[in-house]
């Protein structure tokens, strides 16, 4: 499995992180090509089902990224999102999923460089853990 590359689902909010990813692209910053991006209106839109479903269909990791606290386009969406993440992450760890498979970050529209750093870090973390075996349907 030496040529194995992780597949990571990046759920990005439309107003900050998606624009941050766009800026990273426009600025020609390099980051690992392991992420598949899903654009959502706000990090508050993230249903825990999205995350579980990603793992079930074989994604090795999930990155959820939204606006910094205080910068939400809808004023409070990311605060509610943060409360959700605060429960989802320990719960996934509790049932035995490797904690690094699920990561959250705040990336603003101006932080193209930060976005590439985040993706690099998440990819490295998941490369270290290896392919997902738990939660995957049919394994």
């Amino acid at each position: 499995m030496s040529d194995w590359q992780p597949k990571i689902l990046a759920i990005l909010c439309n107003w900050c992180s998606y624009a941050g990813a766009d800026l990273a692209g426009v600025s020609r910053l390099q980051y690992p090509p392991n992420i598949r991006v899903v654009r959502i209106p706000c990090s508050g839109r993230v249903d825990p089902l999205f995350i579980m479903k990603a793992f079930q269909t074989g994604y090795d990791g999930v990155l959820v990224s939204g606006c910094h606290p205080g910068d939400c386009h809808y004023l409070s969406g990311n605060y509610f999102a943060r409360r959700k993440f605060a429960v989802i992450k320990p719960l996934m760890e509790f049932i035995g999923l490797e904690p690094d498979r699920l990561q959250f970050s705040w990336v603003s529209a101006g932080e193209g460089e930060r976005f590439s750093e985040v993706v690099t870090k998440v990819t490295k973390d998941i490369q270290k853990i290896g392919p997902i075996t738990k939660m995957v349907k049919g394994v």
Binding site: P48, L91, E98
Partner: protein, 321 residues
Amino acid sequence: MVKELQEKVKQLFKDKKVDMVIGWRKGSLPLSSSPLFINKIEDVDNLIFDETCQNNLAVYITKDKRRLVKDGKKIGVIVKGCDARSLVLYCVEKQIKRENLVIIGVPCKGVFDKRKVMEQVDNKEVLGFSVNGKEVTIKGQEFEKTLDKFEIASDSCQSCVYPDAPVFDEFITEPRKEKPDIDEFAKVDKFEELSLDDRWKKITDEYSKCVRCYACRNVCPSCYCNVCFVDQNDPQWIGKSPEITDTIIFHLIRNLHVAGRCVECGACARACPEGIDLLLLNKKITKEIKERFGYTAGINIDEKPAMQSYCENEKQDFIMG
């Protein structure tokens, strides 16, 4: 105490304070009780309260008797501590108006887990029981066995810290002032000590027993969506067969839907035909929410549930720096 309870309910009917009272009656089998819907004074005589009254009666407010609630009828519910917390949650979530609700608290001393009792008596037929302080004598055809009450109590009762209703209109006898000295998260802490792979193994072993009958959801007072996400077909989020990942996702999402709303009545675990320890994950979430946000569901009628509120300067150690 049952006499007092019956008198109190009769009085409520006489004073026209209630249109209906939901309580318990003797079940058709020993060690069981069934719900009793009292519409007129004569029915009150069937009312009981003992260690077999395990149903969380609050659930009828959002399910079977929803029409009555919508019509603005005054409903009295006889509640143990956990059931009262469900009612408080309903008031917070605007499922029923506080003034249409008469909360009648009874001092709960824990309810039996029938499965545990049957195990203790080797599945022999039970005919009756009597409680004497901390001991319970189970009587059968040709045997009599004395058991420790705590041992055969429901899992949720073994870790219960709110035996009496935190909010009530009437209380039969006096609510206890002191909280029981119990570590409510002992099981969670113990489970957390295991390694990741051991935890995953235990969870898959436990949940592979699930037959997806949804009894846990149907009996849960906090689960009252009109269309549950597992019943949804378009889009169909999760498979309907008892495939292990689908099953685990169903339970995780259900746990997350009741996050910060679960009152740990243990109805789900008692309703489970396979005897899955459903409370463990709920307890974990409750612990997490209590530690992070200092919130406990169903205690304060003026407090917003943890997941429906936020604080700007919260700790966010789980988010990448």
